[in-house]
Assembly symmetry: C2
Homo-oligomer: 239 residues x 2
């Protein structure tokens, strides 16, 4: 029930050090999840037939090494478990030599796109037999704390930030968070763990504020608020 | 000397109306250009061996229809001509039925990455025999005018905006420009022609201001200035 997808790191995916950006890496994981669900009969298009869709709740990524421009990488994915409220999908990224470069755990809920309410996964065909119970040997994404700090930045959500239905694309959150660090930080440190909780959808025109707190050295907590209420919480741990 | 590349419009590429964004469409064209140059011995990696690189100078895209999520499209590309200072590469995008959905013309210069100076293309092997002289039957990208209007927005360039060497990725300019329109504009109109002149590179930390002028109904001119001087000019024509 595991499957591996091949990618090449494109010039558009890399940062100033020729390494894949955290946002492009996340994009690759979400693309992999989408393809794998599609191929197995429980992709977004299948769910759309019942007015449902997948919503990413949480994700944690642990990175050994950020692959470089033009590097060929393989993303292996599988569904670990399917509960009633959410399902867990795992990923392992390896390089051309087969060496592990990153692993990730993601939690997803199924919602009705009309009511925006979570649906019971027990009714979803195809996915239950697909789950193999295999963990990814890393700490799963946890519920992150809220922050009480003053915002470090504020902006309005625009056309390129949103996808279908006027919701902000999950990748944009990762960009906004990783944009809070200087190039010097990326030069002298590498992100070891990146973790995100998606709580409320950010819509076109929303005023978003970014809050940061360094709870321990190189351990940064983030909160994105839209019009004052929590939209997303995240953690970036450099090492 | 023409070659066609296949793409699928991914969920990450579409806007709130399930249509590919102008930025994602531009990204596809640049990806096509990169692959085709690579395969023929004059890609960025080949040029890098001589401390050189391609720089996109101008591009014009005419769009009949924006392809939709999951649509399979084909991008045909060829080099029309190679001058001493620049080369012209054309594109035609067709849908699964073979119907034309967009065409584009791009102009590129080769620069030395150390000196940032333009190089004479006469010395570049492989490309001259490759040019077939065939035009794309559309108005080529022209030199756009400067604007004297007050800025409509201002921001600082951040980590996710830049690629190698701290330069802003060409696609970001397209995002910043298309972000100036409301969703209502995209609902009631469609971009017919998009045209951009890349003049000066925007770097990490630069303060960018966006200037707009509607010269005729639905014909918008843009200028991006960095720290006060012109970085990019563009035109967006709705129809």
């Amino acid at each position: 029930m595991k499957k591996t997808y091949s990618f090449s790191v494109r010039p558009q995916d890399v940062d100033f050090q020729y390494r894949i950006t955290p946002a492009a890496l996340t994009d690759m994981l979400l693309t992999t999840a989408g393809m794998n669900a599609d191929e197995n009969g429980f992709g977004i298009r299948d769910l759309n037939n019942d007015d449902c869709s997948w919503v990413l709740l949480r994700m944690a990524v642990e990175i050994e090494r950020f692959p470089e421009q033009y590097e060929k990488i393989a993303v292996e994915t599988w569904v670990e478990e399917v509960g009633r409220a959410s399902t867990t999908r795992n990923f392992r990224i390896t390089d051309a030599a087969g060496k592990l470069i990153a692993k990730a755990v993601s939690n997803w809920a199924m919602i009705n796109v009309m009511t925006r309410r979570a649906q019971d996964l027990i009714a979803l065909e195809g996915i239950h037999a697909f789950a193999n119970g295999e963990s990814n040997e890393m700490e799963k994404p946890v519920r992150l704390q809220s922050l009480e700090t003053e915002p470090v930045g504020e902006f309005n959500v625009k056309y390129s930030h949103i996808d279908i239905n006027g919701h902000t694309n999950s990748i944009r959150y990762v960009e906004w968070i990783t944009d809070c660090f200087s190039l010097d930080m990326y030069k002298s440190n590498q992100i070891k763990r990146f973790e995100i909780n998606y709580i409320n959808e950010i819509l076109f025109g929303d005023k978003v504020s970014i809050h940061i707190q360094e709870t321990e050295t190189d351990d940064f907590r983030f909160e994105l608020k839209k019009n004052g209420s929590t939209a997303c919480k995240a953690r970036v741990l450099f090492g």
